[in-house]
């Protein structure tokens, strides 16, 4: 998971904890007010003074409002949790998220990173980002590693190449699922994230990746051309 997404997840988790805690405290406050209300009710027995009746009624409203506050706080916590599960399923590190994952992560990042984080939490955020530079670098190299792995799969669709060429179609077929995998999850999950922090750097990374793919494709094409006479021999 990207560090920015991780930060957004951490913030939302913290918000959930806070809201849950507020719900508990609001319930406690409601109990206090409810006891106060009971005492007013005790005192109002045997008298019909409007002021005391008002105190009974108003404290009752206070109890209801405090309970509603508790309910709304835990409702908000549940909705945040649902949101979190939707945009970062399980909040577990999932570099290859489901198809709906990456765009949601993108949304989340666009929300938090580009706008309000940049505005209201800019200082802390930026200094943390600097501290996380190494981590990001690692992620970038992981992305590169992944591309290399994809290329390996691409290159050797059925084990070590060269023994026999089953044809030119197979590598392309295995390459197709590999590329969206990288484009979707890695580009959205990593590259976009990195891009928020260091657009230029990530641009270079992606151009390197693009180059690798282009180079590899070229190689594959050449290899395919070479293999054509080979398959003709069969």
């Amino acid at each position: 998971m990207s560090s920015l997404l991780a930060q957004a997840v951490a913030q939302l988790r913290s918000a959930i904890d806070q809201l849950d805690g507020l719900a508990v405290r609001a319930t406690r406050a409601a109990e206090d007010v409810a006891q106060g209300h009971a005492r007013y009710a005790d005192a109002s027995r045997g008298t019909d003074h409007p002021k005391l009746r008002a105190a009974v009624a108003e404290s009752r409203i206070g109890v209801d409002k405090a309970r509603r506050l508790a309910r709304l706080s835990s409702e908000a916590a549940r909705h945040v949790a649902a949101y979190l599960n939707a945009v970062a399923p399980g909040s577990a590190p999932q570099p290859l998220a489901t198809a709906s994952g990456p765009p949601s992560g993108e949304d989340l990042l666009a929300d938090s990173g580009r706008r309000d984080l940049a505005r209201s939490r800019a200082r802390g955020f930026l200094s943390r980002s600097v501290r996380k530079a190494d981590e990001l670098q690692e992620q970038a190299s992981k992305a590169t590693e992944m591309v290399q792995q994809s290329i390996k799969v691409f290159r050797n669709p059925k084990g070590p190449g060269g023994t026999h060429s089953t044809g030119t179609g197979t590598p392309t077929a295995s390459g197709l699922p590999a590329r969206p995998k990288m484009d979707g999850a890695e580009a959205a999950g990593n590259l976009v994230v990195v891009g928020l922090l260091a657009g230029v750097a990530v641009h270079r990374i992606s151009s390197v990746i693009g180059e690798r793919i282009a180079r590899f494709r070229g190689r594959e094409r050449r290899r395919a051309e070479r293999s054509d006479p080979g398959s003709g021999e069969r």
Partner: protein, 86 residues
């Protein structure tokens, strides 16, 4: 209930409501922080869950005010009655 008992009950109720108000005021402060964090992180997200979370939080913020208003009104009414008892 004797006048003394009524006064004691009113005093006890007053103390309990004070306690409740203190808690609610603290909740209000923390809720504002949580809401700010939440709105910053969810900002602009049109997902259903995000909308609901924002709405529930905004409603909770409003409920803090309403709770405090009700507690204050109850205490004020009770105090006015208490003055009559001497």
């Amino acid at each position: 209930m004797s006048v003394g008992e009524v006064k004691a009950a009113l005093g006890e109720a007053n103390r309990l409501l004070d306690q409740g108000r203190t808690t609610i005021e603290e909740i209000g402060d923390d809720l504002h922080q949580a809401a700010a964090l939440l709105l910053a992180t969810l900002h602009d997200s049109r997902r259903d869950e995000a909308e609901k979370a924002r709405k529930a939080t905004a409603d909770a913020v409003r409920e803090v005010k309403l709770t405090l208003r009700a507690i204050n009104a109850a205490q004020q009414s009770a105090n006015e009655y208490r003055k009559r008892l001497g």
